[in-house]
Subunit: 683 residues, 2 copies
C-alpha cells in the first residue's frame, strides 16, 4: 500500500471547492451545496492523484471518464479549476438562462461533462455503459504492448441513485460482466430531501452490491480521511475482475453550521454561515468566488500531467498505427465518429412482389447486411433476442471470458429483462464514442426506459431502439403489451426520431437516416406480423420521413395518410374507393420528425390542400390532427387475440377504412369551401 | 415443524394443472406453458393448504391476496379449478378476442385476478402494496381479539421480475417496512427468453434480498418437494417482522420432453409431447382439457373451506361492529368503496383577490382540508415531500414501529427516490381496497413510473399522482427536470385523467373529480410558481374539464385556450388585445379527458365555431390541434434559470401571446370563409 499524506495545498484546494460550492449556490440562490461540500475531499483526491484527462482537449479518447451521477455544482467547480472551457463568470452564471452552467450538468452543452446527470440513477448507469465500451474496445483493438484503449470510469453517486431501479439494473449487469475498471464512490451522507435516509433507505448497500458480484469497500470520515480514500481507490484498481463500490461516509455540507442536515441538501447556505465557513478556512470572509492563486497553480499542474499523458498516448497510437495499420485506421475512423464510405450501399432494396415480411424480420435483414461494414454496431436486447431479431447470425456475445459464453470483443449484449438499465447503458455506450449501440425490446416496454430515452434525446446520444411488436398487431399478448400512447409520447420528445416503416424499403430508410443522424436517438417501431412490399416505396422517398406512396391524376377526392403496418391496409381501402370511381392518394409518413424537417414546399406537396386528409394508425389518434383533417385509430386499449381478429375488432380493415373515407369525402363536400392543408398555419 | 405428506389426489391435481397448462397454450397456439408446468406443485400446495379465499365471493375483503407476477395461464387454471367465474370454455378461449382469458391476466376483467400482470416486475411490486395496505388497515382497525384485517399476500415471481428495477425498488421498501405478511415464491427455473439465466442474471438473489432486510429460504427440487414447499411457507409465516423470499428451484415445463429448456418458455408443446405428458401421468392421451372429477371435488372442498372462513370472519366482523360501531361503520364504508357524504364541502373555494399561490401549495391546502374527512387518503412522496407538499401537518409516518419514526397506522409513506416502485405500490394499495393512495414526485419523473401508470389506467386503479414542478416554471433545475413531452404521453393514455389546474378553484375541482372517479387514475400537474386566483373560475365549471373563463358580448375575434400556469398569462394577453378593441374569449381546459366526456353540445359551446382558437401551453404543442386552430408552446427543451426569465425566453408572456393572437386573427381574416370548431368531425 502506498502511503498518502496530503500536502497543505491539497487541504487548501479542498477548502476552495467547499467555499466555491457555497458561493455558486448562494449566487444562484438555488442549487445543492451539501453534496459538493461533502464530496470535496474525494473529488480532490480522485482528480489530483488518479484521473487521467486533459482539460485542454476534453474529448481525448483515452481519458478516464468521470461521472457525477448525483449531478450538481461540484462538476462545474472541478472543471473550472482544471481549466476546462468554464470561466469563473460561468460559475457565477450558475442556473441562469443560456449559461454554460445549467441546474444539472448537460452533455453537449458544457465542456468536460461526460453525460447529462441530475435525474437520479442515470449517470451511474451511463458509467456502466462507459465501462462496457472500454472493455469492448480494449478487447477489440488492444495488442501486446499497445493498450490503446485503457481507461477507468469513475462515478460519484448518492443515496438517491442507489434507490432508483435503473441503477439496480445496471449494477447487476456490471457485476455479471465483471467490469473491473468501473469504480464507483458512494457518498453515504445519510441525508436525502426527505431527511435522514433512515426514513426510507435502510438496506445494506454493500451487501447488495456484493450480491451483484462487486468488490466493495468502506471509508470512514470521508471528509478528511484522504489516505483512506486514496487507498480504497488503489485497492479497487487492483481488483481486475469486478467493478468496485466504495462507500464513503461523509457529512453533507461539511463546514456549514448546518452540516449533516438536510438543510444543506437543496438550499443555499445563509450569509453568516458562508462567512463562518470562510473564516474557519482562512479565506477572506466577505469575498465571493475566491480562488487562491496556488490552487489554480496546483490544478494547472494536474492539467499539465493530463496533457502529457495524452501526448504519450498519441505517440503510442502512432506506433500502433505503424504495426497495425488496419486497426489504426478503423479505430481512428470510429473515434472521429465517421461512418465508412458507402455503407448505405449494403441496405437491402425491395420491389413489389417480393414476399411479405414482418418489419422486425426486415430489421434483422438490415442488421445482417450492414453488420460487417459497420463494426461500431453493438447490439443487444432486453431478453427478447428471438422476438426482436436483434442478433445477427454468428454474432459473438459480449460476456466475461470466464463465463465461457463469449468475450468482451463480442458485439452482442444480453441485457436481461432490464429495459431502463439497457437504455441508460446505451446512452453511456454512445457517449463513450466509437460505438453505435442498438437495443431491442417490445415497443410498449420502451416506456419502462422513458427516463433514459428522454436523456438520450436531450443529450444527443445516437442510440437506436429496435422496438418490435409495435402495436395491437402483436396479437395474443394482449393490451398489457400493446402500445397505444407510446408513439405520441416519443414523437413529442424533441430530438428523437420515431420511425414506423411500412415495408422493406422503408425499413432500410429508417436505418439509413437513424445511422446517419449522429446526435439523435431513434426508435424503430417494427411489426410482429408480415407486411407486403408496397408499390411506390423507395429508400430515398421514405428517407424524407413522408412521401406520396400512391399519386392520382388530377385532383384527388381524398388523401389517406398512415404509417407502418396500417399502410397496406390503407392501400387496400384506396383500391376499394378507386373501384367506386374515387381518386385517392396514399401518403406514408414513417417519421414525423424527419418529415417536419423537410421544406414547407415539399411537405405541402405531400399533404396538400384541395381535398381532405384522413389519417389511419393503430394507436391513439392524438397528434394526427397536425397532419390530417380526420383521424382514425384506437379509442382505447387493444385486445388479446390473433392479430387479424384484433384488427377487425377495431375496424382497421380495408373495407371499414373505405367507409370512413367516404364519410370524410361526403362531410367535406357538404361543408363546402376550400379544404386547406393542416400544415398551413398562422405563425 | 408440521410434517406434510401429499395424498395421491394432491399429485393428480398437480398433474391436472400441468396437463391443462399444456392444453390451454396448445389450443391458443400461443402462450407460456413452461412456468405453469414448473410451478404447478407450488401452486397446489399454496392454494390447497394455505390460501384463504372464497371463490364464490372473489372480493371478500379479508381474503389472502395472490399475485402471479410472472402472469401466465396458471392463474386461469387455478381460478377455474377452484370455481371462480371461469369455465372450461373460458380456458379454451385463452388469448382470443373478447374472452375472459386474455394473454396476460387483467384486473377488472377476470374474476379472481387481483392485479394485472405480464409486464414484468409490476405484480411483485403491487404485492408489496397489498402488504402495506394490510399492515396499515390492521394497525388502524384491529382490536384485541378482533383481527379483522389479517391476511397474507403471496406472490409468485420469476427471474424476469427480479431483474426489473421496479421490483428492486419495491423490495427495498418492503424490507425497510418489515412487511412480515408478504411471502414471495421465486420460481428459479434458470430459463428466460434469451436462454439460460447465466447469460445475464448471475447475481446472488437471496443475498440481495437479505441486504434489503428480507427473510430468505431455498427449496430444492421444487417440482416434487411438496414438503419442502410447505415447510418453507410455514417458516415464512413465522417470521413476523420481515417479508420472505422463498427460492424454489424448478424445472421449467416439468413433464415436457423439452423440460428445462427455453423451448417451453413461450411456445406451445408439440402434439406428441403433450401425448407423452398425458401418458406419463395416466391421463387419456388424446383428450384435451381433461379434468378428473375428483380433482374438481378436491378444489371444491378447498373452496368450501374458503367460504367457511368467510362466514366465520363475517360473524367476527358483526361482533366487532357491536363493540366498535364507529370503526365498523368506517371500515364497512371504505370496503364498499363509498365516500363519506358531503366530503366535497371541505374543498377550499377561492375568489378573485385572494393571494396568488403555487398550485402545489393549493394542493397541500386541499389535502389538509379533506385529510380528516377522508381517512382512506394514504399519501406519500418519492423523496420530495417538502417540494411536493404532500404531507399534511402532524401526519404520522407509516413506518415499522421498531424504527421509532412512526407506525403502521401512519398515513404518510416515505417512498424514497423510487418513482416506479411507488407507482406500482400505489396500484397495489388501490387494488387492495379501502385505501385511496396518492404519491408525489416532479411531473417529469412520473415518466420513470410510466410502466406502472399505464397499468393503473388499464386496470382502473384509483391512484392520484401529485405531480408538482410541472413545467419550465420549475425554473433553475433546468431541462433535465422540465417536462415537455410528458403531458401528451399521459393524455394519450386511455382512462387516465391529466389535470392541470390554473388556480385554487381549479385545484379543488381536480381533486373533486379525481376522488370521485373510483376506477380512474389521475395525474395532477401542479406549479412550483405562484398563480393568481382567476376571475371566472369555479369548482363546478372546472369540474367539466374545460369551460369559458372569460366570455365576450357578441361575436369574438379570437378564443385562446390554455391550461394551468399559462392561463393567467393568456388572461393578460387577452387584456392587451381588448385594449386594442378586439374581443377575446379565454377558455381554461384543465383536463382534456373530462372535457371530452362532456356532451358535444357543451363542448361546442366552449370551443365554438365562428372565430379562430389559439392554444397556449408551456409544453410541446402536439395534440393541441384537436382543440385549436393555432398552437403555441415549446418547440424544444426548456432552460435552466429563474422561472420568469425562462418564460420570457420562450415567448410565454402576455405581450408575445397578444402578438400571436393578432397574427391568428389576421390569418383567418385573410383566409376568409367560416371558421369551424376543430371539434366538428366527419365521423
Amino acid at each position: 500500500m502506498v502511503a498518502f499524506t496530503p500536502e497543505p495545498l491539497d487541504l487548501k484546494s479542498i477548502d476552495t471547492i467547499r467555499a466555491l460550492a457555497a458561493d455558486v449556490v448562494a449566487k444562484a440562490n438555488s442549487g445543492h451545496p451539501g453534496a459538493p461540500m461533502g464530496l470535496a475531499a474525494a473529488a480532490h483526491v480522485l482528480w489530483s492523484r488518479f484521473l487521467k484527462a486533459n482539460p485542454k482537449d476534453s474529448k481525448w479518447f483515452a481519458r478516464d471518464r468521470f461521472v457525477l451521477s448525483n449531478g450538481c455544482a461540484l462538476q462545474y467547480i472541478i472543471l473550472h479549476l482544471l481549466g476546462y472551457k468554464l470561466t469563473l463568470d460561468d460559475l457565477k452564471a450558475f442556473r441562469q438562462v443560456d449559461s454554460k452552467t445549467p441546474g444539472h450538468p448537460e452533455y453537449h452543452h458544457t465542456d468536460g461533462v461526460e453525460v447529462t446527470t441530475g435525474p437520479l440513477g442515470q449517470g451511474f448507469s451511463n458509467a456502466v455503459g462507459f465501462a462496457i465500451a472500454e472493455a469492448h474496445l480494449a478487447a477489440t483493438f488492444n495488442k501486446e504492448g499497445f493498450n490503446i484503449v485503457d481507461n477507468y470510469t469513475y462515478v460519484f453517486l448518492g443515496d438517491g441513485c442507489l434507490m432508483e431501479g435503473v441503477a439496480s439494473e445496471a449494477a447487476s449487469i456490471a457485476g455479471h460482466q465483471r467490469l473491473g475498471k468501473l469504480i464507483a464512490i458512494y457518498d453515504d451522507n445519510h441525508i436525502t430531501i426527505d431527511g435522514d435516509t433512515n426514513v426510507a433507505f435502510t438496506e445494506d448497500v454493500l451487501k447488495r452490491f456484493e450480491a451483484y458480484g462487486w468488490h466493495v469497500a468502506e471509508v470512514k470520515n470521508g471528509n478528511s480521511n484522504y489516505e483512506g480514500i486514496y487507498n480504497a481507490i488503489i485497492e479497487a484498481q487492483k481488483v481486475k475482475d469486478k467493478p468496485s463500490l466504495i462507500k464513503l461516509e461523509t457529512i453533507i455540507g461539511y463546514g456549514s453550521k448546518q452540516q449533516g442536515t438536510h438543510g444543506v441538501h437543496g438550499s443555499p447556505l445563509k450569509k453568516d454561515d458562508i462567512v463562518q465557513l470562510k473564516q474557519a478556512i482562512g479565506f477572506p470572509p466577505e469575498e465571493s468566488f475566491f480562488v487562491p492563486r496556488e490552487v489554480y497553480d496546483l490544478y494547472g499542474k494536474i492539467a499539465e500531467k493530463g496533457a502529457f499523458a495524452q501526448s504519450k498516448w498519441e505517440a503510442l497510437f502512432v506506433e500502433y498505427g505503424k504495426k497495425f495499420p488496419n486497426e489504426y485506421a478503423e479505430l481512428s475512423r470510429r473515434i472521429k465518429g465517421e461512418l465508412p464510405q458507402g455503407w448505405e450501399q449494403k441496405l437491402p432494396v425491395y420491389k413489389v412482389g417480393d414476399p411479405a415480411v414482418a418489419s422486425r424480420k426486415l430489421s434483422e435483414t438490415v442488421l445482417t447486411a450492414i453488420h460487417g461494414t459497420l463494426p461500431e454496431l453493438f447490439g443487444g436486447s432486453a431478453d427478447l433476442t428471438g422476438s426482436n431479431l436483434t442478433r445477427v447470425k454468428n454474432d459473438v456475445d459480449f460476456q466475461p471470458p470466464s463465463s465461457g459464453l463469449g468475450n468482451h470483443a463480442g458485439r452482442y449484449f444480453r441485457y436481461g429483462v432490464r429495459e431502463h438499465g439497457m437504455g441508460a447503458i446505451l446512452n453511456g455506450l454512445s457517449a463513450y464514442g466509437a460505438i453505435l449501440p442498438y437495443g431491442g425490446t417490445f415497443f410498449n416496454f420502451v416506456s419502462y426506459a422513458a427516463g433514459a430515452v428522454r436523456l438520450a434525446a436531450l443529450s444527443g446520444h445516437q442510440v437506436i431502439w429496435v422496438a418490435t411488436h409495435d402495436s395491437i398487431g402483436l396479437g395474443e399478448d394482449g393490451p398489457t403489451h400493446q402500445p397505444v400512447e407510446t408513439a405520441i409520447h416519443f414523437r413529442a420528445t424533441p430530438n428523437l426520431q420515431v420511425w414506423r416503416p411500412a415495408d422493406g424499403n422503408e425499413t432500410s430508410a429508417a436505418y439509413l437516416v437513424a445511422i446517419n443522424s449522429r446526435t439523435t436517438p431513434s426508435i424503430l417501431c417494427l411489426s410482429r406480423q408480415n407486411l407486403p412490399q408496397l408499390e411506390g416505396s423507395t429508400i430515398a422517398k421514405a428517407a424524407k420521413g413522408g412521401y406520396v406512396l400512391h399519386e392520382v391524376e388530377g385532383k384527388e377526392d381524398l388523401t389517406i395518410v398512415s404509417t407502418g403496418s396500417e399502410v397496406s391496409i390503407v392501400v387496400e381501402a384506396a383500391g376499394k374507393l378507386s373501384s367506386d370511381g374515387l381518386k385517392i392518394r396514399v401518403v406514408s409518413l414513417p417519421s414525423w420528425e424527419i418529415f417536419d424537417a423537410q421544406s414547407q414546399e415539399y411537405r405541402l406537396s405531400v399533404l396538400r390542400s384541395g381535398a381532405p386528409i384522413l389519417s389511419v394508425e393503430a394507436y391513439s389518434t392524438i397528434g394526427w390532427e397536425r397532419y390530417s383533417h380526420e383521424q382514425f385509430g384506437l379509442k382505447g386499449w387493444g385486445s388479446s387475440g390473433p392479430y387479424d381478429k384484433v384488427y377487425a375488432k377495431f375496424g382497421l380493415t380495408g373495407s371499414n377504412i373505405a367507409e370512413l373515407g367516404k364519410k370524410t369525402i361526403e362531410f367535406y363536400r357538404k361543408k363546402g369551401g376550400e379544404v386547406v392543408s393542416p400544415l398551413i398555419k398562422a405563425f
